[in-house]
Structure formats: structure tokens, C-alpha cells
């Protein structure tokens, strides 16, 4: 049965059936093939798959993200970073990476980070004479930090799919996220130096102080979100709804950039984006139910074990497998389908589920900048108005840095686990 469902899924997906419906169709084929299960089970699995209070963090984080974009929070963060480091060699590009790190600590999505910052920074880089492919590569690559630095939609999904503490996963993402961010800063600096890209005019200390004060309300947000989760005041879902209300208050009353029109726009975008992602989750829930019923996880475990009993080899195989998955799939569907299969296997190899969650998340983040289907590449190309092919040469060094980071994160579990462990 498994080959039929598997090949069915791949056929539907490559025919360009929307991922959500492809998962549902393949599951329906599987259920009909098994024969003795009424199809009503699909409706039941969908409602059970989506109906978690924890999963509500997802629409709330998405809502907060759009409200921040409309409320001018992203622009103020960029101005603040720019006032401090914009004058250095490759200044605007370095500002791009650093702003992405900051914005990631309030946004849970990679493509949203790329879109919110890229619409301001890619034109700014091009205006300073940076090449379009370079500008698009910097933005697409740093945008993936959105799901690595907490909060992270991918981690919420992983936590629900595998019953792992979302708070621990968030904490585990901080050091790897900073590591990736700073290695991108170093790479950007050297590339910009080689290409002779200049920074912007140096800001005076008065201007810096002003920019810092203006971004104060934006900088307070990650402290509320993450601080609230770790002190045990909020669950991740509650911290997400606090972020929504906070973004509303700052946008309506402090920065005064949100009005009825922009608010309606944020609501609409939230409905469409969370409807799309969570409909995938609903269908993936049917799919993973069919796989579990057919004991696919056990069969996969036996397959992996037949290759090697060495965790080192297992993690390498996982990374290679997830790399191919990431070429074509988005983070949410890949994690919701694969995490319940791979994580129990990882456990038998002695890999910590939190660490494994990080490995999956970083892999899927890399998938966002890996052709042929990379959501960040697509967003960045659209803003820079270039084709994806034309940016490939400039993308390679960035991509290699991410691969190196991924291997370090895979083989040094302490990087991920140290912070959640000391905070317990």
C-alpha cells in the first residue's frame, strides 16, 4: 500500500496539485485501498489535526507579523541597525543580515521576514550600487533566520507533531540562530570588500540615540514574547496572542501607522496565510494517520537501522534526505509529515528530540534558499525583479555557509541543548 500512496503523492505534487490537496488525495487513495475504513475518518482526522490550542500560536504569530509590518516596526528596526553599522564596508548588506536577526526574534516565518525587510532593503542595496543578484542573495539567505531564531512556526509544528516542548525548541534555536547570523555577517563583509561595496553615511551619536529610542517599542517585543515563555508566565500560544495585542497597541497608538485600512489588510493576509498553512496541516494529519496505520515509521526505522547503527551516519543520512525534501517542499508540510516518522528513529539512535527538531528546522530553512523551489528565493527575486537563474552564482557562497552551519549544528548538539538545559 505504501508505494501506491507514496508514488500517488509525488505524482499529484509534481503535477502541481496544491500540496494540501495532494496530501489529502493521496490519503484518500490509501484509505480506499485499505478498504475497510469509512472515509469519514478523513474529516475526523482534519478536525483533530487542527484542533489544538497549542497550534493557535500559528495564526497569532502570523497575525502579529502582518501587524508589525503594517505598523512600521520593521522599518524602525532597520533604521536603528543602519544608524549603528550602516557606514561600514558593505553596510547595507550587513544591516540586512542584522535586521533579519532582530526581526526573526519577533517573526516566526522565513518568507515573511524576507518580504517585510526585503521590500525596504533590496531597493536600498540596489540604490547603493550593489548588484541585484547579490542583494537578493543576502536577503533570501538572512530571511531564513525567521524560522531558526525563536519564535518559529516550524518549531511550533515540530513540537506538536512530536510532543516536544515548544519552549525548549525556541530556546535551542537562539545560539544556532546567532551563529548563522554572525557567520553571514562575516561572509557579507568579505564579499562586499572584494566587490568594493560602500556603506551609507556615518550617523552621529545624536541620530543613533534617536533611532534607538524610536525602535524601543519594537525591541521590547522579543523580550515580552520570549521572556514570558521562559518565566512560565505564558504558554507559546498565549505569548503569541500577547504579541498580537502588543503589535496592535504599538501600531495604533504609539507609532500611529495602523489605521482601519491597514488593519483590514493585516486581517486579510492573516486569514489567507494561516488558512493556507493550516489546511496543509489538516490534510497532512490524514496522511500521517494513514502512514502510522500502515506502520511506515517502524518500516522506516528498520530501513535506517539496516544502513548503520552509528548515530553519526544516521544524522548524515537524515541531512541528505531532508536536503532533497527541502528542494521541493515547504517547511510546514515537510515537518508535519516527516517529524512523526523520523523523530522516533532519532530517539533510538540516542539523538535528543529537541536537537533533532533544530536539525529539521535548519534543514527546512536551507530548503527556502535551495532551488528549484525555495520560497525565500522566490520572494527576493520578485522584489529585486530578476530571474532565479541569474542569482545562482551569487547565492553559492551564502548557501555553502549555511551548509557548514548545518553540519556544525548537527554534530555539536551542545550548541542547541546547552541553553534549554541551563534554563530548566
Amino acid at each position: 500500500m505504501t508505494p501506491i500512496v507514496g508514488s500517488g503523492l509525488l505524482f499529484f505534487i509534481f503535477l502541481s496539485v496544491p500540496i494540501a490537496l495532494a496530501l489529502g488525495l493521496a490519503s484518500a487513495v490509501g484509505i480506499l485501498y485499505i478498504g475497510d475504513i469509512p472515509l469519514q475518518v478523513m474529516a475526523q482526522r482534519m478536525v483533530n489535526g487542527v484542533g489544538h490550542f497549542t497550534l493557535m500560536a500559528l495564526p497569532f504569530f502570523i497575525f502579529a507579523g502582518y501587524l508589525m509590518e503594517q505598523g512600521g516596526i520593521s522599518r524602525r528596526l532597520i533604521q536603528m541597525v543602519s544608524a549603528f553599522v550602516g557606514h561600514r564596508t558593505g553596510g547595507v548588506a550587513i544591516v540586512t543580515v542584522l535586521s533579519a536577526m532582530l526581526f526573526s526574534s519577533i517573526s516566526g516565518s522565513g518568507s515573511a521576514t524576507t518580504a517585510a525587510l526585503g521590500s525596504i532593503l533590496i531597493p536600498a542595496m540596489i540604490a547603493r550600487g550593489y548588484s541585484k543578484p547579490f542583494a537578493a542573495s543576502v536577503q533570501a539567505t538572512s530571511g531564513e533566520l525567521g524560522i531558526i531564531i525563536p519564535p518559529s512556526i516550524a518549531m511550533v509544528i515540530y513540537g506538536i507533531a512530536t510532543d516536544t516542548s515548544i519552549g525548549d525548541l525556541f530556546m535551542a534555536g537562539i545560539i544556532p540562530g546567532l551563529m548563522i547570523g554572525f557567520s553571514l555577517v562575516v561572509l557579507t563583509f568579505f564579499l562586499a570588500k572584494k566587490k568594493g561595496y560602500q556603506g551609507v553615511e556615518k550617523a552621529s551619536w545624536t541620530e543613533r540615540w534617536k533611532a534607538l529610542r524610536e525602535s524601543f517599542w519594537a525591541l521590547l517585543m522579543p523580550i515580552i514574547i520570549l521572556g514570558g515563555i521562559y518565566t512560565g508566565v505564558f504558554t507559546p500560544t498565549e505569548s503569541a496572542v500577547v504579541a498580537v495585542v502588543y503589535a496592535c497597541i504599538v501600531g495604533f497608538f504609539i507609532y500611529k501607522e495602523i489605521n482601519w485600512t491597514t488593519f483590514k489588510k493585516a486581517v486579510n493576509e492573516t486569514l489567507v496565510t494561516s488558512g493556507m498553512i493550516m489546511f496543509i496541516i489538516a490534510n497532512a494529519s490524514i496522511f500521517s494517520w494513514v502512514l502510522t496505520r500502515e506502520q511506515v515509521p517502524q518500516k522506516m526505522a528498520a530501513l535506517f537501522a539496516s544502513f548503520s547503527a552509528d548515530p553519526f551516519v544516521f544524522l548524515l543520512l537524515c541531512n541528505i534526505f531532508l536536503f532533497f525534501v527541502g528542494m521541493f517542499f515547504d517547511a510546514s508540510p515537510a515537518i508535519i509529515v516527516l517529524a512523526p516518522i523520523l523523530t522516533p528513529i532519532a530517539l533510538t539512535f540516542g539523538v535528543d528530540p529537541v536537537h533533532f527538531g533544530l536539525i529539521m528546522t535548519v534543514n527546512m530553512a536551507m530548503g527556502m534558499i535551495t532551488p528549484p523551489v525555495g520560497v525565500n528565493l522566490f520572494v527576493a527575486c520578485k522584489i529585486a525583479n530578476i530571474s532565479m537563474e541569474s542569482m545562482m552564482k551569487d547565492l553559492i557562497p551564502f548557501w555553502l555557509v549555511i551548509v557548514a552551519n548545518l553540519l556544525i549544528i548537527t554534530y555539536f548538539p551542545q550548541l542547541s541543548l546547552w541553553l534549554p538545559n541551563i534554563l530548566k
Binding site: S16, P18, L25, A43, F53, G275, M278
Partner: protein, 181 residues
């Protein structure tokens, strides 16, 4: 080549094609109503959950029905939002292969995609309604006046609206030969 997350999600205006103008008008109206209903649900969900956080934190009061009620609202938001996503051409799909097709073949492939999708959605309408009927004698634990029928009803309703939006997309594909999506 794309996994579509456009920068704006403003639904694209449905093209007026003489024979189908009436159909598009109704679809537009349906989507507008959906947007308002789902938008209100999203705001209510946010306010209720935020309110319960505050009341627990400041007054040490918590209500069991908040979580369950909010989850049911979210299920409806997903069903309605997914239909809006179909309308906004916002469903993630792997376009890398069909992009390589010639124009006529592309159109055939896209038609097959919509036929398959609609077949699945129609199945969902039927089994979703059956499930809702089966669940009609179950009541919510914390909201004793609420039958689970109303929760499961989101599936056939959402699937029905998605079907109508899919058909609109199909009409668009066949009525605009020159523009490739």
C-alpha cells in the same frame, strides 16, 4: 519554479468573461462575506484568548470554555481562510515541472489539477457532512449548548466554497489564452 507566497494577498480581480460574469459576481460576493465573517472570528478569537490570559494573570480566574471555544473558532477560520487562499491563488504548489510544459500542455495539466482537486473537495463535502451528522449527538464538554455538528460542518462548508473558487480558476485558465500565470 515557484512556491507561491506573493507579497500581497489582495485577491486578484476575477476576470469578467461575458458568459460567466454572473458566476464571478456571486463568487466575489461570497468571498467578501467570507472575509468579513472570518475576520470577525479572528478578532473574537484574539480578544477571548487575550482576555483569558489577562484574567488569569491579574484576577487568577480561568475559564475552561475559552480554550475549547477558541479552538472551534480556529477550525472555522482555517476552513474559510483556505477558501480565501484558493481565491487569492495562494495555495502552495510545486510548479517547477509544469512550468516546462508547452502552453497547450500546461493548460491540460492545470485542468487535470483542478479536476483532481475538485474530486477530492467533493469527497470532503460528502464525508464531512456525514461526519457532522454522526457527531450531532455529541456535545462540547465545556460548552454544553454546542453540538459538535457545528464544528464538523466547517469541513463541508469550507470544501464547498473552495470548489466554487477552483471552478472560477478553471474558467479563467480557459478564457485567457495569452497570459501565463
Amino acid at each position: 519554479m515557484k512556491s507561491e507566497i506573493p507579497l500581497t494577498t489582495e485577491p486578484q480581480p476575477l476576470k469578467k468573461h461575458s458568459a460567466f460574469a454572473g458566476y464571478f459576481k456571486w463568487i466575489q460576493l461570497m468571498n467578501m462575506v467570507t472575509k468579513i465573517v472570518a475576520g470577525v472570528m479572528l478578532c473574537v478569537m484574539s480578544i477571548v484568548v487575550f482576555g483569558s490570559v489577562m484574567s488569569r494573570y491579574f484576577a487568577n480566574l480561568s475559564w475552561a470554555w475559552v480554550e475549547e471555544g477558541a479552538v472551534y473558532l480556529m477550525i472555522w477560520i482555517v476552513a474559510l481562510g483556505a477558501s480565501l487562499a484558493v481565491n487569492a491563488k495562494h495555495m502552495i504548489a510545486v510548479e517547477a515541472v509544469v512550468m516546462l510544459f508547452s502552453r497547450p500542455l500546461w493548460r491540460v495539466a492545470k485542468t487535470a489539477v483542478i479536476v483532481l482537486s475538485v474530486a477530492f473537495l467533493v469527497t470532503l463535502i460528502v464525508v464531512g457532512y456525514n461526519m457532522a451528522a454522526l457527531a450531532s449527538d455529541q456535545i462540547s464538554i465545556t460548552l454544553p449548548w454546542l453540538s459538535l455538528f457545528w464544528v464538523y460542518l466547517s469541513i463541508p462548508v469550507g470544501a464547498f466554497m473552495m470548489t466554487l473558487n477552483m471552478i472560477a480558476t478553471l474558467i479563467e485558465i480557459w478564457s485567457e489564452p495569452e497570459v501565463k500565470e
